[in-house]
Symmetry: C2
Subunit: 316 residues, 2 copies
């Protein structure tokens, strides 16, 4: 079967927007630098498959993410499809300057829900990270940009264990109060489970302005996404073919794979505007360029070897 | 984090029984024959980790499943823990004879929900498969055995596409009417999605006597399991480390991995009686014997390299 059977379930949104993070979050940990032409083709393929939001790159310092050192070059050569948003990650004011120079219309900032990760990833405290965000968001809004905010480590972090829900809500509310139009709640290490997802969304007072960003490190990403949809969330981050996350373990996945999410959504009769065969084809194309198979189950089932029939997989 | 944080969700069972299929369904497609001592240790480790139902082997003809040709030998050497059930798959009357000879107290039979798979796997029609099951179940019950029934291809098959829900219910009801105590509804090729799961359970009139058996071929197994739990199902089939299913693709998984399921259930505060670190240790031990890593995300995150810290996985 190349497409799921459609059987509606009660209590789910009619339509979901997939916020595609493959070109940025998916590629950022790749050791071998990918040519800018390949990145531009990747972004073009995603738009052609129906994506309407594609996070294209990041203006983080090249010392920290060498893979995305070509951000300006990519934005210069990248084809833009009318109606498609191409947000860019911006860590600080210097990044914002560069985004403004290159005509970016939407940015994303990256906050931490825990003290330790704020220190390690941002070199700030939980409190002082806002001193970095405030001028970025204020200036971006003054220039007419839209600003999205990621909150990382919303479910736990490797040093502190589980993250208190109230702490996530406190960080998230401050970002919304700065003027961010959307919060992406990140389970950066993939430890969350469905009850925790519901508790967090309910602690925010409901799904308004919330998106979810699950990593599949413990295999929970799709079950958690289903739970978020039942709570009313309609924006879900995902990465082409499940790339990103854990570069040290070939078989480990990072982000929720877009194709696995689309299989579920289309099976549930939820509209995405996406063409699944095109997504699978792009992941197969990208896997060849990255030199290893996609961690997406759907891509493994449908994409890697077109001559293989699923009939070979018929034993119980 | 070695264990999930516990956050209850409404509308879920207090306790779930995991029906462990690793020694039978998990191993049956392994090409290299595993020594019977390793199988016996595997079963003993599963019981020690808290499993109370372990499908130990199959009396299928060795021509079809050479890996399980040692079924009688395994039953002879296998340690049995009081209170633990060790069902054995029995395809026909000859298999039942052997099960009775070896003191088996619970058997499982294996039916098809589709015409084509009945022909290919059982050499019967959808209708005539019951002529094979009737004497097996009747004789087993007369000897005081409990009989479980698998129904395969409940969501779709590779030849016919989606399986009509009414057809699954018809096959399943006939098996229950024969005297089977439990039906395991199998998504043999892993194509189902949550709305389909709900529709099928509701078509049976609710979860009574139903178990679910999901394969993760399209990444849907855990989301589908969560849905079945919300429908009231309390028995879930799973396989140690996710072994089984697709022997031709190293990275593809077959069965839902027990560890990924346990991570979700314990996170949800649902009791399983299982010790997660012991399960991970057993999967790591087994992976070394099978010569390749476990496809379970939890085992990959926690089990393969004890010196690796999750802090290395801290980037968003």
């Amino acid at each position: 079967m190349r497409e799921p059977q459609r059987v509606r379930a009660a209590g789910l949104p009619e339509r979901v927007t997939i916020y595609e993070v493959g070109p940025r979050d998916g590629l950022q940990n790749e050791a071998a630098v990918i040519p800018v032409e390949v990145k531009a083709e990747f972004v073009a393929r995603l738009a052609a498959a129906g994506h309407r939001v594609i996070e294209a790159t990041s203006f983080v310092h090249p010392k920290w993410v060498p893979q995305l050192a070509d951000a300006a070059e990519l934005l210069a050569v990248m084809e833009r499809v009318p109606g498609v948003r191409y947000p860019v990650l911006v860590p600080n004011e210097r990044g914002l300057d560069r985004a403004l120079e290159h005509g970016v219309e939407e940015i994303a900032i990256f906050a931490s829900a825990t003290e330790t990760f704020a220190g390690r990833n941002l070199n700030r405290t939980l409190e002082s990270q806002f001193e970095m965000f405030e001028p970025v968001v204020a200036r971006a809004l003054a220039h007419g940009l839209r600003v999205r905010a990621y909150v990382s480590m919303c479910f736990g972090d490797p040093w502190e264990g589980p993250t208190p829900v109230a702490q996530v809500v406190s960080v998230g509310r401050r970002l919304l109060d700065l003027g961010c139009f959307e919060l992406s709640l990140g389970d950066t290490i993939g430890v969350g489970t469905p009850g925790h997802v519901s508790a967090l969304i309910e602690a925010f007072g409901g799904p308004s302005r919330l998106a979810v960003h699950f990593h599949d490190t413990y295999g929970q990403a799709l079950a958690n996404t289903l739970t978020a949809l039942r709570e009313g969330v309609t924006v879900v981050d995902a990465s082409t073919g499940g790339i990103g996350g854990c570069p040290y373990a070939e078989s480990a996945t990072g982000n929720l794979a877009t194709e696995d999410l689309v299989w579920m959504l289309h099976g549930l009769g939820v509209e995405t505007g996406l063409d699944l065969p095109s997504l699978v084809e792009t992941s197969t194309w990208l896997a060849a360029r990255l030199g290893r198979p996609s961690p997406s189950r759907v891509v493994q089932a449908l994409g890697e070897n077109p001559s293989r029939t699923t009939a070979e997989n018929a034993e119980e």
